[in-house]
């Protein structure tokens, strides 16, 4: 038995192409059924995410499986699929790398593991996974766990939104019940606010020079719109202030912030300044209980985290290599498992 991996991902195909080949979960059972009907294919698991569409198959003849997969994709989309394909050690290594987040667009991201688990579970429920695929995916989950716990591949946040969330967490602990205010209804501040919402920030106030825009954004994110003239009064009650106005000068100055701090009774204020030119006077960071981060400092932290993750890749690869060897030894011990792969070129 051979393990075949074939598909497209963010490295080989643009989003325009990937979205054409994506398989929705509602269609998955039918597609899995068709894939299993390919001559020589005994089991299949299909992974379809925004960054990849991949088939993992146990097959006596990987060449036929690959051609069948290509035909099914072409039939569905009317396009020739630019598939890559890997067999046995490479296919196993690839799945282990994918599950560990090493093959992701953002190295070390953990969402992919959940997606791989879901893909496996859908295939298992549809009865499409064979013994070798069960074993392969269970092994992949163990590898991903081991990579995450034994290395720093998931270390630190890697986007402006996640950096803001981590910093807010390091100031307030749980963000449950914390209040945030957005000054200026920009796209990055909206994304940052959404990241904070995902971690428990419930009360969101949106204030913009154009009230209608504030109202629109507030409606989208489930917040409350506020006239720009009133933001200073409301500011005393918020814990996180995200600012991205188009003001030509600093609107958050020590003179404005200091009186607010007196009303806050020692509760810190986290100011996220995403505006260029900056909305916050850097001097407010010197005030007791105020933590100011501008777009540069947030991006620098994200970039540091990515550097750490890149440095960890070698350790991860070596861990994965041990597991690939382990899985292949098992595969060889299974009757029919040691057969060499058909040549695919």
């Amino acid at each position: 038995m051979n393990i075949l991996c074939a598909g497209i991902n963010h490295r080989t195909a643009h989003l325009d192409v990937r979205e054409r080949f994506a398989v929705r979960e509602s269609e998955m059972a039918e597609v899995l059924g068709r894939l299993r009907s390919i001559d020589g294919v005994s089991g299949v698991v299909m992974l379809s995410t925004c960054n990849r569409v991949e088939l993992y198959a146990s097959s006596l003849c990987p060449l036929r499986a690959l051609e069948g997969f290509r035909d099914i994709l072409s039939e569905r989309t009317g396009l020739e699929a630019p598939l890559y394909h890997l067999v046995n050690p490479e296919a196993v290594r690839h799945l282990f790398r994918v599950a560990s987040g090493l093959d992701s667009m953002v190295i070390g991201e953990t969402e992919i593991l959940g997606q791989v688990k879901r893909a496996y579970s859908v295939a298992a429920e549809a009865g499409a996974a064979t013994r070798s695929l069960h074993r392969l995916f269970q092994h992949a989950f163990r590898v991903a766990k081991s990579v995450r716990t034994e290395t720093q591949i998931t270390s630190g946040p890697t986007s402006v939104g996640s950096v803001a969330v981590e910093l807010a967490g390091k100031i307030f602990g749980s963000l449950e019940g914390r209040r945030a205010m957005i000054l200026g209804a920009g796209e990055i501040s909206e994304r940052t606010a959404r990241s904070l919402q995902s971690r428990g920030v419930r009360s969101l106030i949106v204030s913009n020079r154009t009230y209608e825009r504030a109202a629109l954004l507030a409606a989208e994110i489930g917040g409350m719109a506020l006239h720009f003239d009133h933001w200073e009064k409301a500011c005393a009650d918020v814990d996180i202030l995200i600012s991205s106005t188009n003001a030509p000068h600093a609107i958050l100055t020590p003179e404005k912030i200091l009186p607010l701090l007196r009303l806050r009774r020692g509760v810190p204020l986290f100011v996220i300044d995403l505006a260029v030119p900056r909305d916050a006077d850097p001097a407010i960071n010197q005030l007791d209980g105020v933590f100011l981060y501008d777009i540069d400092s947030l991006e620098q932290i994200a970039s540091q985290s990515l550097d750490i993750r890149r440095q960890e890749v070698i350790r991860c690869e070596s861990l994965i290599e041990e597991h690939v060897g382990g899985f292949l030894s098992w595969l060889k011990s299974v009757p029919g498992g040691g057969r060499a792969a058909s040549s695919i070129s």
């Binding site: 967490g169 390091k170 100031i171 307030f172 009774r265 509760v267 960071n285 209980g289 400092s297 932290i301």
Partner: protein, 259 residues
């Protein structure tokens, strides 16, 4: 045997501290079980030493400054082992170990006096002395939490946080922990005073003044923090500063107690 117990506990704290320095140097610090384990072993060895001294003296082993410092270190380690996991204060052991190690080294360097067998003292007097030192242990741990707050706050303010930032707890949690630990220490100190009064301990002059001074210093800081009158940074500074004052006054109070 006493010396062996003392050296064993010192080595445990030294290992704990050394391990922290090594991990921090490698910028790969992950709060692990090593600190907790070495601190637990160090505290057990200190407990062994104190029990031997107690058996020899027929009293709570606080006869010399050296014993007092070891008892204080033991209290701090004990409270860390109890409080650390409860608050999930990762790295607290890394900050506590050097302080306990310092107390232990000072205790080892102090001249050892011959054992004095005490006549039977009132249990309330013994309770008074022991509770005072456990309260000081809580103040020490509060100072450690305050110090951790200052480090984490400094990292947050720097806008370029070092790797340790990821492993230190949030400043809000540290502030809460400092407040609760200091309240615990303050209540223990008050209980210690109450047990001294109950035992009709005659306290006057310098000892009374310094004891009340420490009690008042903590009361002012705690009320200020509880009511939100001081910022987290000032509270952390006060927790560390008050402990330094208390630690400096400890030998004076002990000297006055013997008079």
């Amino acid at each position: 045997m006493e010396r062996i117990a003392l050296l064993a506990s010192t080595l445990c704290y030294l290992f704990s501290f050394g391990h922290t320095l090594f991990e921090l140097g490698a910028e790969r610090f992950r709060p692990g079980r090593f600190n907790f384990l070495t601190m637990a072993l160090g505290m057990a060895a200190q407990g062994w030493y104190l029990s031997m001294r107690g058996a020899a003296e027929h009293a709570c082993p606080l006869g010399t400054l050296s014993e007092t410092l070891i008892f204080l270190g033991w209290s701090m380690a004990l409270l860390y082992l109890a409080v650390g996991p409860a608050y999930r204060l990762s790295l607290m052991g890394a900050f506590t170990a050097p302080l306990v190690l310092l107390l232990q080294i000072v205790a080892l360097l102090l001249p050892q006096k011959p054992t004095m067998v005490h006549s039977h003292q009132s249990a309330w007097v013994e309770t008074h002395a022991a509770l005072s030192l456990v309260a000081f242990g809580a103040f020490g741990l509060g100072a450690v939490a305050g110090l951790m707050f200052l480090v984490q706050e400094g990292e947050l303010k720097s806008q370029r946080p070092a790797p340790i930032f990821h492993y230190l707890p949030p400043i809000h949690i540290l502030s809460e922990a400092t407040l609760q630990i200091l309240w615990a220490g303050f209540i223990l100190l008050t209980c210690s005073f109450a047990s001294g009064l109950y035992a009709h301990l005659m306290v006057a002059g310098g000892k009374l003044f310094f004891s009340i001074l420490i009690w008042l210093l903590y009361l002012v800081v705690l009320v200020g923090a509880q009511r939100g009158l001081i910022t987290g940074r000032r509270f952390a500074l006060a927790a560390a500063g008050n402990f330094i004052v208390a630690l400096l006054l400890l030998p004076v109070i002990q000297h006055l107690s013997r008079q």
